[in-house]
């Protein structure tokens, strides 16, 4: 096997693995901070008389917020890695330690944003008698910052892998911005359904979307005591987070995998990606058939 191909294969596997783990962590980070679409339910709850103890830092959409963390961490990492290399450190050590430093700075910024966002969100609900509980902020805050640190670190490393090993022509911080926004959209579009439609409404029967009339009537009790935002990823990471990770990991892995072959020259990756899209579309159709056959129509709506 050509050494170049072997290096590329290792790069594709590494990028896919990093993307997979980043997907789990990012979804957990957004769930811990209620920072995506289900935050509307968390904000509705006090308006219908529920006093909540959720951590709510949703003052920006998940994709741009995540893109910002990734791009900031990667920019700091790139600058520091040049400095570390000037000081005589090996290239790979320089990148790794610089990525850790970049992610740490980002986590601190995220913590600051989280504190002020939560306080402003909760105080805006004062008209509905919602108190500002410090434990609801201080318990999940370090957890959320830790998840942000890991997401930023992984996306920074992914950007360096895509730029350095896979040969993407963009600079690493720009790749980090792209990957951050893309991962934010994927996590927002997949993992959040498990949080918004299941975790927040576990008292409602399984097997139904949340009717508009029930929205805001979220669960207030956790496995023990009042539910806080540390409990959320504990539940969602096992299915919603993993599925999010699969979506992002598949995207990065299949995109890289399609570039390993050269049977049709530069058109190879396009042909392979078109074939992958067709296969995944057939899977989607079969899944629809399976769910329709398994669950059947809702009682009383057979002839609707």
């Amino acid at each position: 096997m050509e050494p170049v191909t072997l290096t590329l294969m290792i790069g594709v596997g590494l990028a896919g693995a990093i993307a997979f783990i980043a997907g789990i962590i990012e979804d957990a980070e957004s769930d811990a901070g209620s920072s995506s679409n289900p935050n509307s339910q968390v904000q509705l709850a006090p308006q219908i008389g529920h006093i909540i103890t959720y951590y709510d830092k949703a003052i920006a959409g998940e994709p741009p917020q995540n893109g910002l963390w990734a791009a900031a961490a990667c920019t700091i990492a790139l600058l520091l890695s040049w400095r570390f290399a000037d000081l005589g450190m090996g290239q790979y050590y320089a990148i790794f330690f610089a990525a850790v430093a970049g992610a740490a700075v980002t986590a601190l910024v995220q913590g600051c944003l989280g504190i002020f966002a939560h306080i402003s969100r909760i105080t805006s609900m004062a008209a509905f008698k919602q108190p500002l509980y410090w434990h609801a902020l201080l318990t999940p805050l370090p957890y959320s910052m830790g998840l942000c640190f890991l997401t930023a670190l992984l996306l920074t490393l992914l950007s360096f892998v895509a730029s350095g090993i896979l040969g993407n022509s963009f600079a690493p911080p720009l790749i980090a911005l792209f990957m951050g926004i893309t991962l934010g959209s994927i996590a927002s579009g997949t993992g959040d359904i498990h949080y918004g439609a299941e975790r927040l409404y576990q008292h409602l029967p399984f097997g139904s979307g949340i009717a508009i009339s029930n929205q805001g009537d979220i669960d207030l009790k956790g496995e023990y005591g009042f539910r806080n935002s540390v409990d959320t990823p504990y539940f969602c990471m096992r299915f919603g987070g993993t599925i999010t990770a699969l979506a992002f990991g598949l995207l990065i892995f299949l995109d890289g995998w399609s570039r390993l072959f050269t049977f049709a020259g530069p058109w190879t990756s396009i042909i392979l990606e078109a074939a992958i899209i067709a296969v995944l579309f057939i899977f989607l159709n079969r899944l629809e058939k399976y769910t329709r056959d398994s669950y059947g129509p809702y009682p009383g709506q057979e002839d609707a």
Partner: protein, 229 residues
């Protein structure tokens, strides 16, 4: 590529980026399985999938124009199909609902009835086959449009800048066009779209005009910075 052709490329690409948002099924209420579409805002989802297309196009820069544009389109479509397939998986096994569209009663492709499978009090959930196909068409358009902007800017500035700098600046302009032109249709879609079967498709001319104006401004700005400055 001469600057005038580059400008036309930016304008056409920008308009396609705006149009693509109409095809992508997305709804914030989808996060509660209460509406058909991917569970996030159409604008940000389109931006996410378009940037995945730009990332894919980044591997192809230096090749011919159709290759870069198609690579971007495929990268974008790959992102949207992964997201839709796995979102349907969460709906199927995480919340226990089948994909149902609110905008049509019989799926035009499969012929399957939708209404009996819709949970009471909701407007549908996840993406049935036709809605998913609409998402793929939208992503193909978005990725192609974004890549066209990217490659047009790159071709305009590459004669006067170093190659890596030109790629990065072109990528930033491409990403900027997504962040602007994908948000403009939000005023028409108001947070929810079921793709090509949605009635809001009839309002596409508004998106077209507004994206044309914005893209002309962007193109003139890039032209000015390349030729005049």
């Amino acid at each position: 590529m001469d600057p005038i052709t580059g400008m036309i490329g930016i304008i056409i690409g920008g308009i396609i980026v705006g149009i693509c948002v109409h095809f992508i099924p997305a709804s914030a209420v989808g996060a509660m399985s209460a509406s058909t579409g991917i569970a996030t805002g159409p604008s940000m989802l389109s931006t996410g999938c378009g940037l995945a297309g730009l990332y894919a196009a980044g591997y192809m820069i230096g090749e011919s124009l159709p290759l870069v544009v198609l690579s971007g389109a495929m990268g974008s479509a790959l992102m949207i199909i992964c997201t839709m397939l796995l979102a349907n998986t969460i709906c199927a096994f995480g919340t226990g609902v089948a994909p149902v569209a609110g905008s049509y009663d019989k799926d035009p492709i499969t012929g399957w009835r939708q209404k009996p499978f819709m949970s009471p009090g909701t407007d549908g959930h996840s993406m049935p086959t036709t809605t998913a196909l609409s998402g793929i068409i939208g992503a193909l358009l978005g990725g192609a449009g974004g890549s066209l902007v990217f490659v047009s800017v790159y071709e305009m500035i590459s004669p006067i800048l170093e190659s890596t700098t030109a790629v990065t600046i072109a990528g930033m302009v491409g990403a900027g066009v997504f962040l602007i032109n994908c948000v403009i249709p939000a005023y028409v879609l108001v947070g929810k779209s079921e793709g090509m079967t949605d009635k809001k498709m009839k309002l596409m001319h508004k998106t077209f005009v507004s994206c044309l104006i914005v893209s002309v401004i962007t193109a003139v700005f890039v032209y000015a910075s390349v030729v005049v400055i």
